[in-house]
């Protein structure tokens, strides 16, 4: 009897594997971040809009914030931009931009044309801060809690739907958890 069951079991196992592996909704490039639950890497960079100013995430200690990694060479970043602008107008948490390996003028132009959803944008021209955060593509969006720990990382363009389903519950939980 088990001679017939064994191939059947193997078939079911493969079917489950493929159902998971070939699922079109799964981004095969998405990797789990080792940063989750760890303190957010500190940075102090120049402000994209005003190089004389510094942008540091130290100033955000004690509040929940979002760090969004973007660049003008990144096509999906343009795709997510309207969603970011809309989210920023809901004034839930500050959104900090990390402009990654970009050119200052282009990035400034981008914000002028498409709107600026960011409370401030740090200019990471040589990508060193991005390495600290484990960035390997753009756009990436991180959620940091009031204790300065990274609690979530989302890889892919932001949408209102993702914001509502993935970010809002975590933000509310982080706030309930208290600082």
């Amino acid at each position: 009897m088990w001679k017939f069951l064994l191939p059947f079991a193997a078939f079911v196992a493969l079917a489950v594997l493929f159902a998971f592996g070939l699922n079109p909704g799964r981004d095969i490039h998405a990797l789990p971040s080792p940063l989750i639950g760890k303190p957010a890497p500190e940075f102090a960079l120049t402000d994209l809009l005003d190089p004389a100013h510094a942008v540091s995430n130290k100033a955000l200690d004690g509040q929940v914030y979002v760090l969004n990694v973007w660049a003008t060479w990144c096509v999906p970043c343009r795709e997510e931009h309207p969603a970011l602008v809309a989210i920023s107008q809901q004034h839930v948490v500050p959104i900090i931009g990390l402009n990654w390996k970009d050119q200052r003028e282009r990035a400034q132009q981008w914000l002028q044309q498409l709107g600026n959803p960011y409370q401030s944008v740090a200019f990471d021209g040589d990508g060193r801060v991005a390495i600290d955060w484990g960035v390997y593509g753009a756009p990436e969006t991180y959620l940091v809690d009031a204790r300065g720990r990274v609690i979530y990382k989302y890889i892919s363009p932001m949408t209102q739907q993702v914001w509502d389903s993935e970010f809002m519950p975590r933000i509310e939980a982080a706030r309930r958890g208290g600082a």
Partner: protein, 184 residues
Amino acid sequence: MRLVPHAALLLVLQAATPAVVAAAPAMNAAAPAADSGPAAVDAAATAALAAPSAPAAKAALPVDANGQLEDRALQARFEEITKQLRCLVCQNESIADSNAELAGDLRRQVTEMLVAGKSDDAIFHYMTDRYGEFVRFNPPLEPKTLLIWGAPFFMVLLGAFIVFRIARQRAAMPLDDEPSTESR
């Protein structure tokens, strides 16, 4: 693409995991590829003209005209380490082989850490702290990587067991062409 010797073992497993089987890259996220069109050309042009921060930082490193470290021992370690680190943009290439910009940034990081006198272990730790174990083509043998390292041996044993069983069954069966019965 050139593979690190030890990576061959991992590839056996990866071939079985869906991540690589489903290689059709429904790329939701872009990466700073070296050939990202006009932006890259512009960047190169401005780099040549204005020489912003990146080339200046490079000049501080003890590298020769070919971009190799002057210290041969360090260069050898550099090559060994970068061969064992995965480029996260083009995930089956090492950062030694990849042309992606991120790979270039990580090579620079490795160079700087070597020059600063960091050990190989410290460099690998630096990378796994940021990108996870996935960044290593040659992960260390430890409890959580036991499955990766043990699976090939397990497969061989399983195969041997199956072959052994079939062989024993066949040995127990009478052969068709044996003149044991008089009916044929």
